[in-house]
C-alpha cells in the first residue's frame, strides 16, 4: 500500500465507511464530453468492486477530483462480485471487475431494469509469485495446474527444495479466483488445502512468510518480498515474465482485461469519469502502477 490518501478521494477497504468531501465548485476543464458541472455539487460517483483494481481506481480518483473540482469519487474494494452486485442493486454507479460480467448477472441486472455497459479500462498480467528462497524460476501452465489441484504437493517433485507446497488463492467469489480456475485449472476444483485469503495483499504477505508458498496476484500487487515465476505455455515454449511488453505482444499466457461497468447509458459524471480514465491521464496512471494501458478509443 503505502500511498497517501487523497483529501477528496477516499479509499476504504471492505471494512469501513466512505466519506467523500466535495471541494469548491468550478467549471471543469476540457473533458471530451461537453458536460459542465453546475456550482452545486450533485456529482458524486460511487465506484465499487474488484480488489485487483482498487488501488488503481483510488489513484485515478485522486487525480480526477484534482481536475474536476466539483466531483466526489468514492472507491471501495470487496471483490468483483460485490461490485457487480452493487451495480445491479443500485449501490454503485460504476463497478470494477477483474472478469467479464457473467450471463446470469446480466440477466439479473436486466430483471431490475439495469443494462450493464462494459468498458475495458486496463490490462493486467496475473503474476504467479513464490517465496524469494524458492529456486524454481519458471513453470509451465500444466505444472501450475498440478500445483493448484494438489496433484503435486512438494516442491521436490518440480526440482525444488524438499518443501511442502502452500497454495494461496483468493476466496471463491473473487474475479481473480474465477479467472484462474477457468484459464489454468480448466474449470476443475482447486485443491481443498488451498488457503482462501480475503485480499491480494494478504496473498503476498503469506507467500513472503512461507518458504513453500505460491500464489497469484495482479501485477500491481507484486512486491520485492516475493519472487515472480516466469510461465511457459508448454514445455517447448519460452519462459515469459509478466510485464507490459509481454501482455501487449500476447506472449504472457495469463493476461486479462480489467473492466469497469456502468449501469445503462453512463450519466454525465460517469461519462466524464470513463473518458478521463480511458484518456491519456488515466492511462498514464495505469502504466505507472504496473498495469498495462489500453489504447484510448475515445469512448
Amino acid at each position: 500500500m503505502g500511498q497517501a490518501f487523497g483529501l477528496r478521494a477516499t479509499l476504504i477497504g471492505a471494512l469501513g465507511a466512505a466519506i467523500g468531501l466535495s471541494g469548491c465548485a468550478k467549471p471543469e476543464p476540457g473533458s471530451s464530453s461537453t458536460a459542465r458541472l453546475g456550482p452545486t455539487s450533485a456529482a458524486s460517483l460511487q465506484i465499487k468492486g474488484s480488489d485487483t483494481l482498487v488501488q488503481l481506481a483510488q489513484v485515478w480518483a485522486e487525480a480526477f477530483v484534482r481536475s474536476h473540482r466539483a466531483a466526489t469519487v468514492t472507491v471501495t474494494g470487496g471483490g468483483s462480485n460485490t461490485g457487480i452486485m452493487a451495480l445491479i442493486h443500485g449501490g454503485a454507479d460504476i463497478c470494477n471487475s477483474s472478469r467479464p460480467i457473467a450471463p446470469s448477472e446480466t440477466a439479473a441486472a436486466r430483471a431490475r431494469g439495469v443494462e450493464p455497459t462494459e468498458f475495458v479500462v486496463a490490462r493486467d498480467a496475473l503474476a504467479i509469485v513464490v517465496h524469494p528462497g524458492n529456486p524454481i524460476t519458471d513453470l509451465t501452465l500444466a505444472q501450475l495446474k498440478r500445483i493448484f489441484t494438489a496433484r503435486v504437493t512438494n516442491w521436490r517433485e518440480l526440482g525444488g527444495h524438499d518443501e511442502a507446497i502452500v497454495i494461496n488463492s483468493r476466496e471463491t467469489t473473487a474475479g481473480t479466483y474465477v479467472f484462474f480456475q477457468e484459464h489454468v485449472l480448466d474449470s476443475e476444483r482447486y485443491a481443498v488445502t488451498a488457503l482462501l485469503l480475503p485480499s491480494s495483499s494478504e496473498i503476498v504477505r503469506n507467500v513472503a512468510q512461507d518458504r513453500g508458498g505460491i500464489g497469484y496476484v495482479g501485477i500491481g500487487y507484486v512486491s520485492d518480498q516475493v519472487r515472480i515465476i516466469r510461465l511457459r505455455r508448454d514445455a517447448a515454449s519460452p519462459a515469459v515474465a509478466p510485464n507490459a511488453r509481454n501482455v501487449r505482444n500476447g506472449t504472457y499466457p495469463l493476461a486479462r482485461p480489467l473492466f469497469e461497468y456502468a449501469a445503462g447509458d453512463p450519466t454525465k459524471i460517469e461519462r466524464m469519469w470513463l473518458d478521463w480514465v480511458m484518456g491519456p491521464e488515466g492511462q498514464a496512471i495505469v502504466a505507472r502502477l504496473g498495469f498495462v494501458p489500453v489504447r484510448w478509443s475515445g469512448g
Partner: protein
Amino acid sequence: MASILLVLLILAFVLREAAPLLRTYSLGRFLGGTRWNPTLPSPAGPEFGLLPNLWGSVLVTAGSIAIALPLALATAVFIGEIAGRRLRDVLKPTIELLATVPSVALGFVGTVAVSPLVKAVFDLDTGKSAMVGSIMLAFMAVPTIATISEDAIAAVPRAYRDGSLALGATRWQGIWSVVLPAARPGIVAGIMLGVGRAIGETMVVIMVTGNAGVLPDHGLWYAFTHAVRTITGTIGAEALEVAHGGPHYRALFMLGVVLFVITVSLNLIADLALNRQPRRTLQ
C-alpha cells in the same frame, strides 16, 4: 416474550431464504457434503457441503475453549476468592475491557504477530491454521467465561466456605472441592456463552484460519495445525458477493440456519445450567 418472538421471526426469515435451495440441491447432499465449492462451473456444478464448514467451526471453537477455560477459571477464582477488594476492583473492569477489543484488531494481531510465532514454534508450513484461530478466539472467550464464573463463585453461600474451613480443610481445598462444585452450573453457563461467542465470531476466523475446507483425514493435531474453514468465515467472506436469490445465496442461508440452531442450543443449555445454581444473590 418479545425476545422469543423476535428470535422466532429471525429463524423464520432465515429458513424462508434457505428453503428454496432444497428444490435444486438435496438436504442430504448439503448435510453430508464434504466439499464447499460454491462457484464451481459445470459439469460438476456448485458444491454446497456443510461438513468442512461445520468441522472447522467445531475444531476452532473447541480449541479456543480448551485454551480459554483454564485461564478464565483461574482468573475467576483469583478475583473471587483470593484477591483483596481493591485489587478486585481494578481487575474486574480490566477483564471486562478485554471483551471490548474489536475483532478486526484481534484478527490483525493474529495475522502479523501470532501466526508467524505459531508457525515458528511448531515448525508449520504456514501460519494460517485452526490453532491461531483458537488462540485469537480464546482472547474473546476469556472475559465472558471469567466474568460469569466469577459471579457464580461470588454467589456461593458463605456458609459453604465456613463449613469447609471448620471441618479442617485448607483454603485451597475449600475452593477446589466445595466452592467450585457449588458454582459449577454458573461456570457451565459461562462456558456455553463463551462457546457461543467463539463460534459466532467471523472477522477473526476469516483473517487467520486460512479458510481451506479440509476435513480431518490426518488426525486431530494435524487438523489443528492446518487451515480450516468455518461456518461464519464462509458466510462472512461470501454473503456480500452472491447473486441475490441464487443457489449459492440460499446455501449461505442454510449455513446460517445451522449456525442459528447451534447458538440457540448453547444459550438454552446455559440458561438451564444457570437455573440450577444454588443462590445467594445472583443478578
